[in-house]
């Protein structure tokens, strides 16, 4: 009974591998942000934290046996010349949904990546300003300077 | 008489008139122009209140709604007999106090008098607002406005002592109103769905006896301006204010607002029959009599004249609460009448205290030996005032005490009668010695110059007027008596 349990748990984990990975990544990022006291390490933790969410979203979108969401049309050379009506005609053949993974998560994650970069940029700008005023990026040293006034 | 209601904007105008006067008071260049604005506002307000008197006397009611905020509850005014009685007293005495404060302030050359007169006007409009409010929300609004408008008046001298007494003043009044009155009001609104002052109370049938008692006590202690015993110590502390403030506000406006709101709540919200049925009235009477006795005893031990008057005010206010707590017709009439009678009596005493301070700078009773020789008019007025407060025949106070005693007899509770009589005796004990020392003792130490030195005319004339009024009220109490009687009948479900 013991090994069948192991199989079922193992199979379960394998089937949901992507969620397990993203949770581990997220916890690593969260850990770094909260516990580390070097500001740059916290910023790195933050970007890991955001990338974990990106991985989660992208993994939602994929389907077994499907290819990237770009419609494969056998554009024969003369077909490209006809322009519009060819496109309309081409749309008539039914597009099999199972062939393509669903594009929505990818669109969302393009935005999330951009937001991640923007936040990283602003965080680094702030870190530089903190370094210029306090001469250090270690949070406990900064607190010491603040307390000593 | 038919209960016809007239819808007119007069009550709202009466409230607004002194607020409108404020920009003029601020912008007036010279002191005289400023004083004339205050007088104009006082006269217009008194005229507006008087104009509604005949209608109210034959049973009519004036209503006006400003705006509807909550379902069937908004800022609205309703002038009935009880409201008219209190508004009449407040607006008439404002005129007299304006004269007095001009004399007092100019004589002592107080600083920032413009601010004084502005906040005085705001306080008055709040008082009239409370008198004319149709529901508990409007009354709470003007009650809060009054407490905030009187804070700068109480702390006028802006010194250390004024600061600590101001802090105590706010602690009791604002703390009481937010801590007790606000939740009580909201709980009542939750149970009954309406806060309008109907003749016979809204709580009947919606509330169990336990919650009714708790709510009544929360209202009693919430409206801390009535100075019931545990919530009273702001009043002696507020004596640090200049005397016209103590005279009008702490003898007439502020404390009477407290008493008025408590009576309004007892009759309009809790309802007289509920008071009787769950015998909440007796609980209220016990608290009131406790306050009367203890306050009178403390008053005897006070050496400062104004502090003694303050404690006597606490005792007199509890008469009003006692009157309502008796739940009998004449008891109610006596209580409500006492608002008017005590007002005239006590304001005279405060005017005299102020006059003595103006003329000689004396504050303590022990130094007032033989002052009668030098300030005969002031001291005779003081004598008449104290007679009225004690409740002896030639002065108006006697009539309200008379109805109160009748009330206790109707209610058949002998202990309350004993309380009334002993307290009258105690009043005599702490007032008459002052008068005796003033006239019959000789001024043994020669630090006083013997020649007659009366306080400035502006101070003497008002206190003479008010002392004469309290005597007139004994012989012709009609307007106030009728109003009180009408109010009592409506409240008792007549």
């Amino acid at each position: 009974m013991r090994d069948s349990d192991m199989e079922s748990i193992f199979a379960l984990v394998l089937a949901k591998a992507n969620y397990v990975v993203y949770i581990i990544l997220m916890m690593v990022g969260l850990y770094a942000m909260i516990v580390k006291n070097n500001l740059i390490k916290k910023i790195v933790g933050m970007s890991i934290f955001q990338t974990a969410i990106i991985l989660f979203y992208v993994s939602i979108g994929c389907k077994r046996g499907a290819t990237i969401p770009i419609l494969v049309h056998h554009a024969s050379p003369e077909a490209a010349a006809h322009g519009a009506e060819k496109i309309a005609a081409h749309a008539m053949e039914a597009v099999d949904v199972a062939h393509y993974i669903n594009p929505l998560p990818h669109v969302l994650m393009l935005t999330a990546i951009v937001v991640g970069v923007a936040t990283l940029g602003v965080a680094l700008a702030l870190a530089i300003k903190v370094y210029n005023t306090y001469g250090t990026v270690e949070e406990d040293e900064i607190n010491q300077q603040l307390r000593s006034g | 008489m038919p209960m016809e209601t007239v819808f007119s904007v007069k009550p709202f105008l009466a409230v607004l008139v002194s607020l409108i006067a404020i920009p003029c008071i601020i912008s007036s260049r010279s002191q005289n122009i400023r004083e004339s604005w205050t007088f104009a506002a006082a006269f217009i307000k008194f005229a507006l209140v008087l104009s509604m008197l005949p209608l109210v006397l034959n049973g009519g009611v004036v209503e006006y709604t400003v705006c509807q905020i909550f379902p069937n509850l908004g800022i609205a005014f309703r002038v009935d007999a009880f409201g008219m009685l209190f508004a009449l007293v407040a607006s008439s005495l404002w005129i007299i106090t304006s004269i007095y404060s001009i004399g007092y302030m100019r004589h002592l050359d107080e600083h920032s008098q413009t601010r004084y007169f502005c906040f005085f006007a705001v306080a008055l409009s709040a008082t009239i607002g409370v008198a004319f409010s149709a529901n508990l929300l409007t009354m709470y609004l003007f009650y809060e406005m009054l407490s905030l408008a009187t804070y700068p008046l109480v702390t006028h001298h802006q010194d250390k002592e004024a600061r600590s007494s101001g802090r105590k003043y706010l602690l009791y009044i604002l703390g009481g109103s937010i801590g007790f009155a606000l939740p009580a009001m909201l709980i009542t609104y939750h149970f009954t769905g309406t806060l309008d002052f109907t003749g016979h109370g809204v709580m009947a049938g919606h509330v169990t006896s336990g919650t009714a008692l708790v709510l009544t006590l929360m209202f009693l202690f919430g409206f801390a301006k009535v100075g019931i015993m545990p919530m009273h110590s702001w009043l002696p502390a507020a004596m640090v204010a200049p005397t016209p403030v103590s005279a009008l506000l702490h003898a007439v406006a502020v404390v009477k607002v407290g008493a008025f709101s408590v009576v309004r709540v007892f009759t309009g919200i809790v309802g007289i029959d509920l008071l009787a049925e769950f015998n909440i009235g007796t609980v209220v009477c016990v608290i009131a009599s406790f306050t009367i006795i203890v306050a009178s005893l403390i008053a005897m031990s006070q050496d400062g004249l104004k502090r003694r008057l303050a404690f006597s005010t606490i005792a007199q206010l509890s008469y009003i609460i006692l009157g309502v707590g008796l739940v009998t017709a004449s008891g109610m009439t006596g209580g409500m009448l006492h608002i008017a009678m005590h007002a005239f009596g006590k304001i005279t005493l405060f005017f005299c205290a102020g006059a003595i301070f103006c003329a000689t700078g004396i504050k303590n009773i022990s130094q007032m030996k033989g002052i009668g020789k030098r300030m005969p008019i002031t001291m005779t007025a003081f004598f008449i005032g104290s007679l009225s407060v004690i409740g002896l025949p030639p002065c108006g106070g006697f009539i309200s005490k008379w109805y109160l005693v009748l009330g206790t007899l109707e209610a058949g509770s002998i202990p309350l009668l004993v309380v009334l009589l002993t307290s009258s005796f105690l009043n005599a004990v702490y007032f008459l010695p002052i008068v005796y020392n003033a006239f019959f003792c000789s001024a043994e130490d020669s630090l006083f110059e013997p020649e007659r030195k009366e306080p400035p005319l502006y101070c003497v004339v008002p206190l003479v007027i008010t002392s004469i009024c309290s005597v007139i009220l004994f012989f012709f109490p009609q307007p106030f008596l009728n109003l009180a009687k009408m109010a009592a009948t409506t409240f008792l479900g007549g």
Binding site: A15, S59, I68, L71, I87, P103, P105, A118, L126 | -
Partner: protein
């Protein structure tokens, strides 16, 4: 305080793990996400926007409003770095020069400075030795990077790519130039003012096309309203609209990446970078 942090993270992780049991398996085709909205996009993108790359069509057309604000996020980041770091450059009265043959470094005061000659070479305070190999190879590669970036932008319709990716590549090429040579050289060729104004114009191109559709009477960002402008039918107009928008995004992203690099690397003084 630290243990509290660790505890919350542990708890949070375990809670998350417990809840994953109810998720659909990885990649199974009939999970709600794959059966509800995406099939519409996959089937209708050709007939709606005539753009085979579904991601670009969803990105720039179906959810074009999202991407408009995404580009605004980039612009906000650029403005934020500028606002936080940029310090007005005080007149600098000294420069460092390196005498090439002898390797002696000189610090020259005053206002007049010798022109850069073969013998005397200007250098930064924390001088990075001028490496011939790197600068020459970079000078060789940069044009190809830029061409590839333009290709990525242009081919967003048919192959993976688009405004963001192309913009970043273009930005990277300029940053490579700044790193390989020196920040001053890069600023001379692509000044901060042009970077700021370009980033604004990029977003303006995007928002402008959207507003143009408004002016043409359609709803905001509905490119088929621009059919008379492009002289094509409504579906092709959408495809051209997407291309215009992609160009706007590329311009904005390039400029902002460079702008942020200028500010971050020189901590706002814009004189000596990495």
């Amino acid at each position: 305080m630290k243990i509290l942090g660790k505890l919350t993270i542990l708890l949070c992780g375990v809670l998350l793990l417990v809840f994953t049991m109810e998720f659909p398996d990885w990649g199974d085709p009939d999970s709600p996400a794959s059966t509800h909205l995406s099939p519409y996009f996959i089937q209708h993108t050709m007939e709606d926007t005539a753009v085979p790359n579904i991601v670009t069509s969803v990105l720039a057309d179906y959810r074009g409003y999202d991407t408009l604000f995404e580009t605004t996020v980039i612009l906000t980041a650029g403005l934020a770095c500028f606002l936080l770091l940029r310090i007005e450059r005080k007149k600098v009265h000294h420069r460092y020069y390196r005498h090439e043959p002898t390797g002696v470094t000189l610090r020259m005061e005053g206002d007049k400075f010798p022109r850069n000659s073969a013998v005397f070479q200007r250098m930064d305070a924390n001088w990075v030795p001028y490496d011939f190999v790197i600068s020459r190879t970079c000078r060789l590669i940069i044009p190809f990077i830029q061409i590839f970036a333009l290709y990525v932008v242009a081919h967003g319709h048919h192959s993976p790519g688009g405004g963001f990716q192309g913009g970043v590549l273009m930005g990277a090429s300029v940053i490579l130039f700044a790193i390989s040579h020196s920040l001053r050289a890069a600023i001379k060729s692509f000044s901060e003012k042009t970077a700021a104004l370009l980033s604004v114009t990029g977003v303006f191109i995007y928002a402008g096309t959207g507003a143009l559709c408004l002016i043409f009477g359609e709803v905001f960002l509905n490119y088929s309203a621009l059919a008379p402008l492009f002289g094509s039918d409504r579906v092709m107009a959408r495809s051209h609209g997407i291309l215009m928008v992609e160009i706007g995004v590329a311009v904005a992203v390039t400029a902002v990446m460079i702008w942020i690099y200028y500010n971050l690397s020189s901590a706002g003084k814009q004189d000596e970078g990495l």
